[in-house]
Amino acid sequence: MKLPEEELLSSGHRGCAGCGASIGVRLALKALGRNTVAISATGCLEVMTTPYPETSWEIPWIHVAFENAGAVASGVESALRIQGKDDVNVVAFGGDGGTVDIGLQSLSGAMERGHNLIYICYDNEAYMNTGIQRSGATPFGASTTTSPQGKNSFGEDQHKKDMPMIMAAHGIPYVATASISYPQDFMKKVKKAAEIDGPAYIHLNQPCTTGWGYDSSKTIELGKLAVETGAWILYEIENGEFNLTHNLRKRKPVTDYLGAQKRFKHLQDKEKEEIQKYIDAQCAKVGIE
């Protein structure tokens, strides 16, 4: 796919230097084009793009709260469709917190009802807007301010909630995982999601320099490492059919990925091994060696 020139998330936003969320949203909007209405949950994306009286959005955009992007999008979609505006893309962006935690129910309802919309979870694996607290998407072992390493704690003690599979269990026509470091794959999925009639869910892995603790220049590298180690698997599920979209020949050891980030710096071998084992199992499930 040629990269569309149009910039629909304009410069001047307040994201951190090297912010992966901005990259993800820029790419998604390029894939969708101008004829799109966007909905955001409260979070980094919303705060950094719309401090009144400034906005970075070139397209219509609405934000209401942290927990209700799915329902707000349902309302927007319903209003557009009943007016006959069937060609307008409706896309909702929620952070991992706004999606897998506080916004889960609102999203589940929207998906269940069959609205023709796309929901993109930009997953930086913690509440970044409020300063790096754990979410249901925080991976095992990561130290965040609410799952801190401590005398009795090695960091987050639960594995990542498997949100794409939870969405797939909703029986919606399109579910995909993606990474900002694989922009062609991501944009293809966004386009597919837009073409499909009915709800589509894309879970976008998005490294965060501030929250993960790495130099701002390495955002893309980290995204690649996640995929190359199998910590993040790229696939899509179209009408129930599962397909890997990135073929991993040889998986790198997860330590390559963990070692590059401050949030995992404290881990002992024991935990690292548990993480490796978990990833091995996840990969095995989907047929990655």
Binding site: R34, N35, T36, V37, I39, E46, V47, T50, P51, Y52, P53, T55, W57, E58, I59, P60, W61, I62, H63, V64, A65, E67, N68, G70, A71, V72, A73, S74, G75, V76, S78, A79, L80, R81, I82, Q83, V88, Q105, S106, S108, G109, E112, R113
Partner: protein, 383 residues
């Protein structure tokens, strides 16, 4: 126009049908449920061309309503009690975003303990939100107020959402005669909705729901205050237009025999009917008593109240809600704004029946006051 015997819930549903909303996100809850049900049936039968959004909670109902209203269409929703409470955060957001949603609230007590019965605590607890609130007296009022709410909320000087509050069971489940306006008249009264200040359209991109730092927030809240102030005149004008077309007269308040009254009872909602009956009875006995019905509680009609009560000596305020340690909300609003000897009475919480005796006790206790605020109707052991 046809006249039918129906519940206030049906009357509200009929009003919703007549205003032709485009999106209806609702979630059932006693005693609002039949509103949800009538509307579902209207949509199922093609009687309204609207999207009925079967949300999974009230939080999503109001959220979808804000989304749809933000997208520029007319929206109707309805709820009650626990449902309204679950909406709380988004109730405030809707007012701040200035989306002219209309919502019916079937007034019901709040948990705990759980109660499905009537009082008005639910909507009273949202009185700071920046919504207009009308408390209706009967099914006709419920229908008419719903129609008017759209015209008022959508007015450019107002642009604040409206809540039409109807007493649970006492109105929602009671059938009585109602005039149903015809569609042409309603179309004349209420043209279709064409928002100017905000809508979501790729042809004219706008950003809705921004963050405002300390440089802007204070003014944004003050703008709501101004909208609230201006709504008083808009409501008066709307009532006049309504009367011209439909022949029924409404106002922010209703003055029932206040002019020569020594004691004026002040109340909201369905209890006003019973009070009027009691007043007539007491007047026959020579008592100088009147009722000031607060029909529109937000905006709070200070001038209209002052005007109605100017001749009386004492006010007794009947509240179906309580702020612990203070008294009822109407009581404290009146005390804040009106300069008159005033007593507060807490009645009917959680469906405690309000009979003529209740009203007479209020009257007696205003004549011979013992305390500022009295709970009337408590079981004896509890006194």
């Amino acid at each position: 126009m046809t006249k039918e015997v129906m519940t206030a819930n049906k009357a509200v549903a009929e009003a919703a049908r007549l205003v032709k909303p485009k999106v209806i996100p609702v979630f059932p809850i006693t005693p609002q449920t039949s509103i949800s049900e009538y509307l579902a049936q209207y949509v199922a039968d093609g009687d309204i061309d609207a999207k009925y959004v079967k949300v999974e909670s009230e939080h999503s109902a109001i959220s979808a309503a804000v989304g749809a209203s933000g997208a520029g269409v007319r929206v109707f929703t309805a709820t009650s009690s626990q449902g309204l409470m679950l909406m709380h955060e988004i109730i405030f957001a809707a007012a701040g975003m200035r989306v002219p949603i209309v919502m019916a609230n079937a007034n019901r007590a709040i948990s705990a303990p759980l109660s499905i019965w009537n009082d008005q605590q639910d909507s009273i607890a949202q009185r700071d939100a920046g919504w207009l609130q009308t408390y209706v007296e009967d099914a006709q009022d419920a229908l008419d107020s719903t129609l008017m709410a759209y015209k008022i909320s959508e007015n450019d000087d107002v642009l604040l959402p409206s809540m039409v509050c109807l007493d649970g069971f006492i109105l929602t489940h009671t059938v009585e005669p109602v005039d149903i306006p015809n569609q042409e008249d309603v179309n004349k009264f209420l043209p279709s909705y064409n928002p100017k200040h905000s809508f979501l359209d790729p042809k004219e991109p706008m950003t809705l729901g921004a963050l405002a730092d300390p440089g802007y927030y204070f003014e944004a809240r003050h703008a709501i205050e101004i909208g609230m102030e201006k709504s008083i005149d808009v409501i008066k004008k709307t009532c006049k237009e309504f009367e011209e077309i439909f022949g029924r007269k409404y106002d922010l308040v209703e003055n029932y025999k206040c002019d020569d009254a020594e004691i004026v009872l002040v109340a909201m909602g369905s209890v006003c009917s019973t009070i009027k009956a009691v007043i007539d009875e007491l007047r026959e006995e020579g008592e100088k008593i009147g009722l000031l019905k607060i029909r529109v509680y937000r905006p709070f009609p200070v001038d209209e109240i002052n005007d109605a009560i100017k001749n009386c000596k004492k006010l007794s305020i009947l509240d179906k809600n309580i702020t612990f340690g203070i008294g009822g909300a109407l009581y404290s609003d009146i005390k804040a704004k009106i300069n008159k000897e005033t007593y507060g009475f807490i009645i009917g919480l959680g469906g405690r029946d309000i009979t003529p005796d209740t009203i007479k006790e209020v009257y007696e206790k205003t004549k011979n006051p013992e305390k500022d605020v009295t709970w009337v109707g408590l079981k004896k052991e509890d006194d």
